[in-house]
């Protein structure tokens, strides 16, 4: 019900649910992974979606200063790097820390992007802790309607 309420493309999550269930059944999957893939739980987590006109990369990077994130696109590899400040309040000997799951420090992630993206048309926005990078496809690679003469 929630999916329909928020208008999610639920398939974005279904795809992976299927794979996870298979992994659980057969142990670790033997499928080839990307050479740049990282261990689960790495900061920031990344989702990638594609549309006919663009490739969309979502990096789940809460609590960063978006002006200090560096995004580069070089020979088909998009690299994200930056630093997550340690936002814990001052700790002294009067403060007990019970749980410390959110990690700070510098991060760097790289993803392959398809060949048909146009490096001149990349936009990035940061909202609610999610960095969205939108890479437009070359116009020649976009679907076109072919007229019959």
């Amino acid at each position: 019900m929630y999916e329909s309420m928020w208008g999610f493309p639920s398939s974005l999550f279904e795809l992976d649910r299927l794979q996870r269930e298979l992994n659980e059944m057969f142990g670790f999957s033997g499928r080839p992974a990307s050479i740049r893939s990282v261990a689960p739980g790495t900061y920031p987590a990344i989702n990638i979606g594609s549309t006919p006109t663009s490739v969309e990369i979502y990096a789940f990077a809460p609590g960063i200063d978006s002006s200090k994130v560096e995004i580069t696109l070089d020979r088909g590899v998009l690299t994200l790097s930056g630093e997550r400040p340690n936002d814990l309040p001052d700790t002294n000997d009067k403060v007990s820390v019970y749980s410390r799951e959110r990690l700070g420090g510098s991060f760097r992630r790289a993803v392959n992007v398809p060949d048909d993206v146009d490096p001149e048309h990349v936009t990035a926005t940061y909202r609610d802790g999610v960095l969205r990078i939108s890479l437009a496809r070359h116009e020649s690679a976009q679907p076109k309607r072919i007229m019959i003469r």
């Binding site: 019900m1 928020w6 493309p9 974005l12 989702n47 700790t91 007990s96 959110r102 802790g129």
Partner: protein, 130 residues
């Protein structure tokens, strides 16, 4: 990120739907000082109006749904975040004052301040000898 199956709690008609859905377990930091507890939770993708904080009895429940991804016609290629919502609950102890919790959500980080009841703040207890 880990996933949790919603635990069976008392259900009523209104909360039925949210109790049954799977959610991500947000990462948290919890600190305590003399005056109360500070909790920080990572909830990337959750806007303020999709965040719900509930105190049910002695349980504090944090629930948040991500805003829909845009653009709409998106084909999944790769996903590390596999569910569009977060949920985590904590048991509060009696000396905490749940009615005075302060919450702030910024850039996907929720900061909660749970003060202690005034009478629960530390006192020096003198040890009687004899």
């Amino acid at each position: 990120m880990n996933e949790v199956q919603a635990t069976d709690t008392k259900q009523d008609v209104t909360s039925n739907t949210s109790q049954d859905t799977r959610a991500l377990l947000p990462r948290v930091d919890v600190l305590e000082d003399d005056a109360g507890i500070t909790l920080l939770a990572d909830l990337p993708g959750v806007p303020k109006d999709h965040l719900e904080l509930k105190v049910e009895g002695d349980a504090l429940v944090i629930e948040g749904a991500m805003a829909p991804f845009t653009p709409e016609k998106l084909e999944p290629v790769y996903a590390e975040v596999r569910l569009p919502r977060y949920r985590r609950s904590f048991t509060l102890s009696r000396e905490l004052d749940a009615s005075r919790i302060e919450a702030n959500l910024k850039d996907g980080v929720l900061t909660l301040r749970i003060p202690k009841q005034a009478h629960a703040q530390p006192r020096r207890i003198s040890v009687q000898v004899g």
